[in-house]
């Protein structure tokens, strides 16, 4: 049986919509099934992998950073890239123009810079492509 590959296009910025969580769950599930995954992060989604994100304490609840265990999207992206290091492989491409607009240069290791042409190539080489738009 031919190897399967799924391409997902994301557009939402981190901490905005549940769609990001669903998409990352799909990426994780696909990798666990041995399916190769491409992610093309467009617009605000390029910030998902920004290295400068930091977990924080919660002064309202009086909890420390450790107690809060605040999840960051950069950590989700980093761990998914670790799982998809070899085979199945996860390829994560941030739209270059979107990166420049947002100054989202400092990203976790393994994230590549590309253009919509890369997304087109990913889509044509994949079993299927799922576009998760902003509302």
């Amino acid at each position: 049986m031919a190897e399967k590959k799924l391409t997902i296009a994301l557009m939402d910025a981190p901490y905005e919509k549940a769609a990001t969580t669903t998409a990352l769950r799909m990426v994780s599930a696909a990798l666990q099934k041995g399916i190769h995954v491409n992610v093309f992060a467009y617009e605000g989604a390029v910030n998902l992998a920004m290295k400068d994100q930091a977990p924080h304490a919660n002064p309202v609840k009086g909890t420390t950073v450790e107690q809060e265990e605040h999840p960051t999207t950069k950590e989700f992206v980093r761990s998914l890239l670790e799982i998809g290091k070899t085979s199945p492989q996860l390829t994560w491409v941030n739209c270059g123009l979107c990166v420049d607009e947002r100054g989202a240069i400092n990203v976790v290791d393994g994230v590549k810079r590309g253009s919509p042409a890369d997304f087109f190539k990913m889509a044509t080489e994949s079993t299927n492509t799922l576009v998760i738009p902003t509302k």
Partner: protein
């Protein structure tokens, strides 16, 4: 004949355009296509038996397969037995299986 997977993330009370998706799904099914509507996030609110104005009964009557993400149901405190009969509770990896099935068109709403 094609396979279609419609991923519905919106709830019918906040987003009236969910009825458009249901009508499209029912029409495609009527034309002989294989249709699955996979409900995620607030989309699962429509699965509840008590939910008025839900498009789920229409989908089920049309022969469309309706699945609901187990994680989204648990997040919202919806017990599985609160859901309408014939709605299939499924983990996210079943959605992945559907999407990577050959000759499938996957649309997110």
């Amino acid at each position: 004949m094609s396979n279609y997977v419609f991923i519905e993330s919106r709830d019918p009370f906040e987003s009236p355009d969910t009825s458009f998706l249901a009508e499209t799904a029912a029409s495609l099914k009527k034309r002989g296509n294989d249709l699955t509507v996979f409900l995620v996030q607030n989309g699962v609110l429509a699965t509840r038996k008590q939910a008025r104005k839900s498009h789920v009964p229409q989908l089920l009557e049309s022969g469309v397969t309706v699945m609901a993400d187990d994680f989204s149901l648990r997040e919202r405190g919806i017990q599985f037995d609160e859901c309408r009969a014939n709605v299939r509770i499924a983990p996210i990896d079943q959605l992945v299986d559907l999407v990577v099935h050959e000759n499938t068109k996957a649309i997110w709403h």
